[in-house]
């Protein structure tokens, strides 16, 4: 759609929200249906494809032995990349990552890293010499809004699914053999809100994202911690709105975790 059509669409989204309704009939705090698809790639060490409504993303894990950082010789690490594939939307382009995908991948990265859901010390193979680098590569296959939650959830389930390759005596992975599963200490679930006019809704559709004034993502854990915030968009939130979002994120996070991550 052209910018003009999106502007008309945005007007309609706003008008509908003012009447207390969402254009796709959902309640303000209602997620679209989630579909979890596994085994999408045998070459991945862990994999998960998520459909959140029509938003379609896939996260794949590769465990690669590498050198530790000098200041953490006994700890592995993660590396997250998210790519908005040209096939997912008429406006996405092949090319180097833009700021949108950089923000997306960094938010997913911190959501995993800072929640301490992975024990980086357990990813040490030989202190000072060799550690696991957990590569998390996420691709957006169809764009219909709320990439943040879809990508974070796909990454989490893919990590849960990940088998650690067995290494031979030359530190090369032995094809088809595994030394166990990756262990997660926590399951951080991200929950994203957008504000359109004065309404705040969860799990925005594409039309709602195109109409948004501001976006706010809250990641929560099963042991009742907030583990991440990210605010975006050219609008603002009041402190009260933020607190409401946080409370709702705990509730929704619990539901999503129960349904898809156990």
């Amino acid at each position: 759609m052209s910018q003009i059509l999106w502007n008309l669409s945005a007007d309609k989204v706003l008008a509908t929200l003012r009447e207390g309704k969402r254009s796709d009939g959902r309640k303000f705090d209602e997620y679209r249906p989630v579909q979890v698809i596994k085994n999408v790639s045998e070459n991945a060490d862990g994999i998960c494809r998520i459909k959140l409504g029509q938003t379609d993303v896939v996260a794949g894990i590769k465990m690669i032995p590498g050198e530790p950082f000098p200041d953490t010789p006994d700890a592995g690490t993660i590396s997250v990349g998210a790519e908005l594939l040209a096939l997912a939307d008429p406006t996405f382009e092949a090319g180097p990552p833009r700021e949108g995908s950089i923000e997306l991948s960094r938010v997913v990265d911190r959501g995993i890293r800072e929640s301490n859901c992975l024990d980086f010390k357990s990813l040490c193979i030989r202190e000072g010499e060799l550690v696991w680098v957990v590569f998390i590569d996420i691709y957006v296959l169809n764009f219909d809004g709320n990439l943040f939650d879809a990508c974070a959830l796909a990454a989490l389930i893919a990590l849960q699914d990940t088998k650690i390759p067995k290494l031979d005596d030359k530190d090369k992975p032995v094809k088809g053999e595994f030394a166990g599963k990756l262990k997660l200490a926590r399951k951080p679930v991200m929950c994203t809100f957008v504000k359109v006019g004065n309404s705040v809704v969860v799990d925005p559709s594409l039309a709602e994202e195109k109409a948004l004034d501001a976006r706010f993502s809250v990641t929560t854990t099963e042991d009742d911690f907030i583990s991440a915030f990210q605010k975006g968009g050219e609008g603002a939130f009041s402190p009260e709105e933020i607190n409401k979002c946080v409370a709702l994120a705990f509730k929704k996070g619990k539901e999503l975790r129960k349904q898809y991550c156990e």
């Binding site: 999408v40 790639s41 045998e42 070459n43 991945a44 060490d45 994999i47 029509q54 379609d56 896939v58 794949g60 894990i61 590769k62 690669i64 990349g81 790519e83 594939l85 040209a86 096939l87 997912a88 939307d89 008429p90 092949a94 590569f135 590569d137 691709y139 296959l141 169809n142 764009f143 219909d144 094809k175």
Partner: protein
């Protein structure tokens, strides 16, 4: 890299009962699955599973060609982008497009172009994007197979579908649709081909390795013979979608492709 020789030399690529390493016969394709319309945002799309290979293809266009200096006033241009997901290979692939992907994109786009009535859409671009989610030899032909179905799904008028197939040699045997283990044979020759089955034309052809003229001619025959199977699966998938969805509006061409095997 130089191919490894060593223990592999004793591998038997076709055993006495005529079976290959994975149990197939010499002229047997791997299992192929074709789905149409898998990416709602796209004008057309398709998904192909071909053995372990898994490929998504989308089509956007014909649409305005930007930047404009790339536009051709006489016809549409095809921009084909072949990419492999980082996790789609045994080692992790650097997400930055490599030279291999750029070359494959070029020759594949040229192969597709032959099938499209480009001159009907001057100054436009038809963007075809394929993503490899999992791989085990033969991704470029699986990708073209998917891309061609996605074009039909987008309702773009075509001379014929483009069907991909691999032929080649391993352990002295001429084989159809080599898998990775076979491509690693010391004497392996892999020949990816794309064919317009109804028109009997070759639009993609690459070969690397050592092969006699006679072996080649035999291989080409095998390709033409077995590409029909791929073609049938493409048509079935299109038929299946358009039988269900009906036959209205811009789906017409795709529907016709399903009915008649050729779009025009």
């Amino acid at each position: 890299m130089a191919k490894k020789t060593g223990s592999e030399e004793t591998v038997t690529y076709v055993d006495k009962s005529g079976k290959r390493l994975d149990g197939r016969k010499a002229d047997e394709l791997r299992k192929i699955k074709v789905e149409v319309g898998v990416i709602p945002r796209a004008d057309g799309s398709a998904y192909v599973e071909w053995g372990q290979n898994k490929v998504l293809a989308s089509v956007y266009g014909p649409r305005e060609c930007l930047p404009k200096h790339l536009a051709n006033p006489y016809k549409a241009i095809v921009r084909y982008t072949y990419r492999m997901a980082a996790f789609s290979v045994p080692d992790r692939k650097n997400p930055k497009p490599g030279r291999r992907e750029i070359e494959i994109s070029k020759v594949s786009g040229e192969a597709l172009a032959r099938a499209i009535f480009l001159e009907r859409f001057p100054n436009t671009a038809i963007d075809v994007d394929v993503e490899i989610l999992d791989s085990n030899a033969g991704t470029r032909v699986a990708a073209l197979t998917a891309a061609s179905v996605a074009l039909a799904d987008a309702g773009i008028p075509m001379r014929d579908l483009v069907a991909g197939i691999g032929v080649g040699k391993a352990g002295g045997h001429l084989l159809v649709d080599l898998n990775k283990a076979e491509e690693d044979a010391p004497d392996a020759v892999d020949i990816p081909m794309a064919i317009l089955p109804n028109l009997g034309e070759v639009v993609l052809l690459q070969l690397d390795g050592l092969m006699t003229q006679k072996e080649w001619e035999e291989s080409q025959k095998l390709a033409f013979q077995h590409v029909k199977k791929v073609y049938e699966l493409q048509k079935e998938a299109l038929k299946k979608k358009y039988a269900v969805e009906g036959n209205s509006g811009d789906m017409e061409a795709g529907a016709r492709a399903a009915e008649e095997g050729v779009v025009e």
